[in-house]
């Protein structure tokens, strides 16, 4: 579980995070959503320690990250995996070397044990025959999967994903979402996902934090979103007419006016 309280962060005169508090729950897909510039990336970078918050507290399973020594942070970071927006794979290394890197750095396993672990995680993310390929030789979706494989190779307790679906087609996005969700459940990880993707919100959003202009505007689950009266949230989530209609349909469905089998013959008559 990751809890953060009253986080403030500014760059010069620009206040990016203003008193943000929330709890990211264990074993759940925790989503941070919001428009561009709402502060979600800065919040995630504060959580992993890439930025220092100006004030507030971050607790990893009750232990304060903000007051930890650099050595303690290093130890904690070995329990954190992160998938970056552009995957951040090391260009000069093959897929196998990229995934093996954390094992090389932090374990005393021999080469065959490390290779076995690399193949295990590659299999887990459904990748085959890519061990010797360089990042430039694989597709965007494959890069994301390699990024996930590298992030989980040390069996982390916390997984952070920054825009995991950016630049991917809807179908591949759903595959990546499902993969992250399944891994979260399988290994009981606290997963924090920054996203713009409405499919992700509706499919895997078990604990959603909606940010607006650096503040926590709303929080809840993907089921709560449908019935939310928050105008800013509704404008953000159901931005297009199509999605507004979809929301109305879902509400009718929930109220029993359309049956759960989506049989809309009566409405079409």
């Amino acid at each position: 579980m990751i809890e953060f309280k009253h986080i403030k962060k500014s760059f010069g005169d620009n206040l990016v995070l203003n008193d943000v508090s929330h709890v990211m729950e264990n074993g759940k897909a925790n989503l941070i959503i919001g428009t561009s510039g709402s502060g979600k990336t800065v919040l995630q970078k504060c959580l992993v320690g890439l930025f220092e918050p100006d004030s507030g507290e971050i607790l990893y399973d009750g232990i304060s990250f903000t007051v930890m020594t650099e050595d303690d942070r290093k130890t904690l970071r070995q329990q954190i995996g992160m998938l970056f927006q552009n995957s951040a794979l090391f260009d000069s290394m093959t897929v196998e070397q990229n995934i093996m890197f954390p094992l090389d750095m932090f374990t005393k396993k021999n080469h065959s044990e490390k290779l076995k672990r690399v193949n295990e995680v590659l299999e887990r993310v459904n990748l085959k025959d890519v061990n010797k390929k360089f990042p430039a030789e694989i597709s965007g979706g494959m890069k994301k999967r390699v990024g996930i494989a590298r992030a989980i190779v040390l069996n982390p307790k916390y997984l952070f994903c920054d825009e995991p679906n950016s630049g991917l087609d809807p179908q591949t996005s759903m595959v990546i979402d499902k993969l992250i969700y399944d891994i979260t459940k399988e290994f009981n990880i606290t997963t924090v996902i920054n996203t713009h993707d409405m499919n992700s919100v509706m499919e895997i959003g078990e604990n959603i934090l909606y940010m607006y202009q650096g503040k926590k505007e709303w929080s809840g689950t993907n089921k709560d979103i449908i019935f939310s009266k928050n105008e800013r949230l509704n404008n953000f989530i159901f931005a297009s007419e199509f999605l507004k209609d979809a929301k109305d349909m879902r509400m009718l469905e929930a109220k029993g006016k359309i049956d759960n089998g989506r049989n809309m013959d009566d409405l079409l008559k």
């Binding site: 290093k74 954190i80 552009n86 090389d104």
Partner: protein
Amino acid sequence: MTVFSHFGRYLLMIKGMFTRPENIRMYWKEFMHQCVDIGIGSLGIVSLISFFIGAVCAVQTSYQLVSPIIPRSTIAQIVRDSIILEFSTTLACIVLAGVIGSKIASELGNMRVSEQIDALEIMGINTKAYLVLPKIVAALVTIPLLVVIGMTLGILGGRVAAIGSGVLDATTYDKGLLQNFVPYNVYFALIKSYVFAFIISSIPAYFGYNVKGGALEIGKSSTKSVVVSCIMLLCADYVLSQLLLNTTSH
């Protein structure tokens, strides 16, 4: 950002490099990789430049030294001292500032922009220690070796040009090389090469490590790092000459 804040951040980067390595074997691997990149990678250009500078130095010295009262072997002596004191270090290091400096700045800049440095930080790796320190240590090990190779090839280039163009015969050139030889000059050149190696590896590392933006900024930081390195090289050259080459120093 002012010069002083850049200097402050540069010093903080240097300070931040000295922490306990997470895995000494990985650091050694990275160090060896950098030795190959910086040392072997620059051997060709340093050899070529040194050889031709020696040759040009011999031809131009003989062109200017026309007095009948000065022995011809003095040409070899001048070539030797010019190569050892200045050309093998300063000129070679200015070229290396371009070759190695731009490579270091663009490599680190690209890693910064594509979030590879952030990825390493999140793994719990001190990126200053893992990415910058091996580059600086590799430069400190390999650049003095390149300078020594450059000295030898420069003097050889002078010999080839002097004999080839008929300025001197081999015996006179060799005699001139041994004439009034001051071993301290070699020490001076080596001291300079260590200082220059530090400058041409650490300054580009600073500019590359702190890139903000995209591809355009990587290019700008690479150019800036080469310009600043060259200026710092020339300043250091003057200061070291002033400090170490007064008449009482040897």
